[in-house]
Amino acid sequence: MTDLKTDKSLYATTAHSKRRSAAEKRFHRLGLAAILIGLCMLGILMTTIVTKGSGAFQQSFATLDIDLLEAKLDKTGNRDPEDLKKVTTFGYAPLIKAAVEQVVETHRIETGLKSKDMAAIISKSAAAQMRYRVLDDPSLIGTTAEFKFLTNSWIDGYLKGRVTRETIGNNKNVSVEQLDFVDRLVGLGIVEKSFNMQFIFGADASDQRPEDAGIGVAMVGSLAMMCVVLLLALPIGVAASVYLEEFAPKNRLTDIIAVNIANLAAVPSIVFGILGLAIFINTLHFPQSAPLVGGLVLTLMTLPTIIISTRAALEAVPPSIRSAALALGASKMQTTFHHVLPLAAPGILTGTILGLAQALGETAPLLLIGMIGYVATNMPETVTQGLLSPNSAMPAQIYEWAKRADPAFYERAWGGIIILLIFLITMNIIAVTLRRRFERRW
């Protein structure tokens, strides 16, 4: 040991210490800049999503009194449900035209529009809406009933400011006269905007009526898949990690298994989609587009994540706990299940929830098992149907909307992102809270 010899005080700045503190300041600023850039990006992302997507939660409706003429809806007059069913939505459409003409007459609206173009401001879903209600309650036939119809997506876009008189140009879907007509109806209180329940609980709609499209059925599909993932991945994942961590002999073989699990976690998700197609659909003959198959594929994808986080949680439990339990006469199994697992539970749950959140946002593997397309249309009525009848998932539905032609679908895609984000943020908050409340440090 030599004595530290300096002729100056350590507090005096030298060239060397100046350089060091400058480097430190630089690093400080760089770090701050990195965080600011990140926050900035997040801000831009969030504002874009909210501004573009919030429109989907509002929708314009038109309230009309419809004369449900017996001559059109029940020619035989016997109210036989079979006969009533034979009148298709095409038979109901003229009633809307008549109702709009009625409005024009009573309020003396002056317009150069043909009645066909006036009725075109009402969504094409209106006829189906009437048909369902009449089939439910045939006694309505012959009376006048009030209906709240969606308006056409272009009219809705106009009322939301997405479509303007300047931009419609030579658009054949909507004309300036129609917009003038709608302005009158808004003035009369016949057309107004209100909260759009259909978007949250409804089913997908075809390209002709984006105003009617909702994410509800896809949401049920996502939930069904998450149930499958949770029921399969959690027990299998925990069992595998408990065995690997507590019971398996530490040798070459277990090392290889551990390394492979870590590698599996990095495999691109589309690979699991191909695997699912080959095994579950082509070999085991499970139905196509079924959330059950989607859930199985996502289980395969989530398993490595759950195993890795569970193993980390088990490893974090200090060996002294195990030793103490063993010393007091507990068996290996009792030690694990009475002491180690409960202490590791918060970590395991956090890992599982994050794995589920990742699975919830996954689209690529669903592409291959037929869950993307015009799929989410039938609301499942039973649990088996929920698992087996064709359905989509939220991210798949968003992807599908984003590529359709009508710009109104684009708005819905952003709206869908908001709902998906709410789900993901909720799951993350649950994970964080669990960790905060129950995590123990030694």
Binding site: T88, N173, D207, R209, G373, Y374, V375, S389, A402
Partner: protein, 334 residues
């Protein structure tokens, strides 16, 4: 306790597998993304008006759909394939090998392919010759094949204002690409006399000459879009000088951002396509497995509903959306 859980699990698994093998009750359709909007409009109306559940319509391209169609018969295969081109002999053979022998072809109408550019840019009036001269990989110049020297539209045709050549065309997996090559590039190649020049150079090899005509330049002035038309639209949004290839229905839904070019002096519209004056159009089809009729509920009814006058006629929702209805539709009903 443990025993109880195992038994319940086993029962649950058994009941699940039992219902897995039970009959499928909705029609499954896959194929061309051009036909998808039409098929989903029909599927939606079908679900509303019949007691059958709404059919499932997936995309995946004409070839992708045909591939799944030809996997075989049975409940876990699709019932109907949508296609924006006629089925190929190769595909018929592949189908037959897998046991799919009776295939019913239904032609539902025509779809126009249009060239469109940014709404605020210059208005183009194209001929196939212009497109060929702008996008061909190589063309005969001074007696030998030279790589395409044109970089500006006014070099292609002096009637155009100066604008860098930049085109976004459908990628090779799209059915649209075939029509683009056949009805625009090849036609332009023949019109300019390049076809004959190539033929005389390669000693009369017809096939090789066609191939040379249809080769698209790959120096970055023409970009293949493998995704959907929304991707093409986004590309034009970022590069205002770009020209994109779209389906007529897509263009008609986005007239606030795009202006359409005429082709050989004809404005693309449902009328001009129906009359056959607009040169770049193609038929749309769907194919049904005859063996699935009567087995999967709703297949026959869906097909009949699709071609009914209410749906596919000139005043039906399909024509409304941009399908050019087929004058011979009545015949395909039988």
């Amino acid at each position: 306790m443990y025993k109880f859980t195992t038994t319940t699990l086993i029962t649950a698994a058994l009941s699940l597998s039992a219902s897995v093998s039970s009959a499928r009750d909705q029609v499954q359709i896959a194929g061309s993304s051009t036909v998808l909007p039409y098929a989903s409009i029909v599927a939606e109306a079908f679900g509303e008006n019949f007691d059958f559940p709404t059919p499932v319509v997936e995309s995946g391209g004409s070839s992708g759909g045909m591939k799944r169609f030809c996997i075989g018969l049975g409940e876990n295969t699709i019932d109907i394939a949508n296609s924006s081109r006629k089925i190929k002999d190769k595909e018929i053979a592949a189908c037959a090998e897998a046991g799919v022998t009776d295939i019913i072809e239904v032609r539902i109408g025509y779809d126009g392919i249009v060239f469109a550019s940014d709404i605020n840019g210059q208005n183009f009036a194209f001929t196939p010759t212009d497109i060929y001269r702008a996008l061909a990989a190589e063309m005969p110049l001074d007696g030998s094949m030279k790589s395409n020297p044109n970089t500006n539209w006014n070099e292609v045709n002096s009637a155009f204002k100066s604008q860098e050549i930049q085109a976004y065309i459908p990628g090779t997996k799209h059915g649209t690409r075939e029509v683009f090559e056949d009805k625009v590039l090849l036609a332009g190649c023949e019109d300019t006399g390049a076809f004959d020049a190539i033929m005389s150079m390669n000693g009369g090899d017809n096939k090789a000459a066609e191939k040379a005509c249809m080769a698209v330049r790959n120096d970055g002035r023409s970009v293949d879009i493998d995704g959907d038309y929304t991707e093409t639209l986004a590309s034009i949004d970022t590069n205002k000088a770009g020209i994109g290839v779209f389906g007529l229905a897509f263009y008609e839904n986005n007239t606030d951002k795009l202006q359409v070019a005429t082709m050989s002096g004809v404005m693309p519209s449902t009328e001009s396509i129906a009359e056959g004056v607009y040169p770049v159009s193609r038929p749309l089809y769907f194919y049904i497995k005859k063996a699935h009729i009567g087995v999967v509920p709703g297949v026959k009814e869906y097909a009949e509903f699709f071609v009914s006058d209410e749906i596919a006629g000139p005043d039906g929702p399909l024509a409304d959306y941009g399908l050019v209805s087929d004058p011979l539709l009545a015949r395909s009903r039988n």
